[in-house]
Symmetry: C2
Amino acid sequence: MAEREVDRSVSQTVKAQLALRDQILSGSLRPGERISELQAVETTGASRTPVRMALVRLEEEGLLEAIPSGGFMVKAFSERDISDSIELRGTLEGLAARFAAERGVSARELEPLKECLAAIDELLRQVPISIEAFSSYVTLNARFHALLTELSRSPPLIRQIDRASALPFASPSGFVMAQSALPEAQQILIIGQEHHRVVIDAIENREGARAEAVMREHARLAVRNLRLALRNRTHLDLLPALALIKTATD
Amino acid sequence: MAEREVDRSVSQTVKAQLALRDQILSGSLRPGERISELQAVETTGASRTPVRMALVRLEEEGLLEAIPSGGFMVKAFSERDISDSIELRGTLEGLAARFAAERGVSARELEPLKECLAAIDELLRQVPISIEAFSSYVTLNARFHALLTELSRSPPLIRQIDRASALPFASPSGFVMAQSALPEAQQILIIGQEHHRVVIDAIENREGARAEAVMREHARLAVRNLRLALRNRTHLDLLPALALIKTATD
DNA sequence: TGAATACGTTATGTATACAATAGCGCAGGA
DNA sequence: TCCTGCGCTATTGTATACATAACGTATTCA
């Protein structure tokens, strides 16, 4: 084993996967670029076997693409790929909300959702919102969506939503952060928050169709959000995640 | 390498993955059962590295579950897991149909769909339908759904639908075959075929909402189909795929 | 007699060695 | 000068050896 430094607290495979995902999402590896196993071995500190396992997982996750002649490359996404992914995720979340409403949810289970809601309300009170508050917003928003998904009590659906979230749009921080300087930004967040409020209400009142509809509308808002961000490319240096978008004309 | 037989026509990893999936779907490996790497090495003929890669892929595919202490086991599904998966897939297919309708599809692209439709019509003409005809139906139906998915022109959506189809309900042969002896079977197939006809019509007329709605209804039909099959367990010996369902009460 | 601990066996996680293929460059001939 | 073919190199795919952790069993002590 020589002098290789080994961190035994987590498995090498997981370590390599996290490291590589970081490299991809941070833009160290550009879209279309081929990932060299040897290079990955050096940057991650794991050996080739766990690195290869990590590569396979990242491919399944949708961040990498297998090259027919062997090896993997960083996947490149068009703007439409990403907006489709957002709508796709919204559709699944809509289903989750409907399941939650139809199957019934106890008041106790809704508690954490409401706490999230209140915390976000608090953040949005400042106008204009600070970068730090934005950062908290992103975390809380992700938490809200995760909790909502859980309410569906449907493991296959939860799993599928997780996978859909693995796509780059799942790091919404990029889009939101990009717009912190835009006038429309705050307005969009406020509308989104209203959606959150409505979906909880619909679930409480067991109105499945309404719960589903509002989540789909929520996704359409996110698509508008994305378009807005992309029309204001000057802010995009804040967006490492968006590095995944093809530079091509699409 | 010794005397190990190596088939160089396909990669060992793919070979192992196919072999293992077969074993799972055919019921050779029962739900909840731990998969031994060593045993898999013997049955697949590949060595441990490709076997492990195959296991990782099958886990991502949803057929296996990682055991915290290490290794993998065959995932077990409840009846609700499967019906949820069907509805989930239907929801995604609905989105695909809507995309197709909204984005427009040329008559030439619809041609293969219509051929499928006609071929299925031909099969359903026999009453009662033979086992062989059922088998053809299953193939054609899968083809129809795959073609429809393609029409969305959305790679992320197509990808996600593929993954949703990897779940056991994706081998619809089981459910359908099981009912070949049931009186309601043929009726269900005929209704399903009507759905196929409507979705094509909706796409041709660019009615996105209608296209989406009919695919979701189609999925609900499939759920009823599943329930029906499960209520008539006597026919289930035809169903290796259903071996995946937990024997538990759930 | 039962429970707990220690040891051994077995299986997984990791590392590395070996094999094969694909891509690239150079050289030679047309 | 360009095209083609051969060979080398670099990188992936596969196999296996080694390390480590978990589980089961047996033995001993209470």
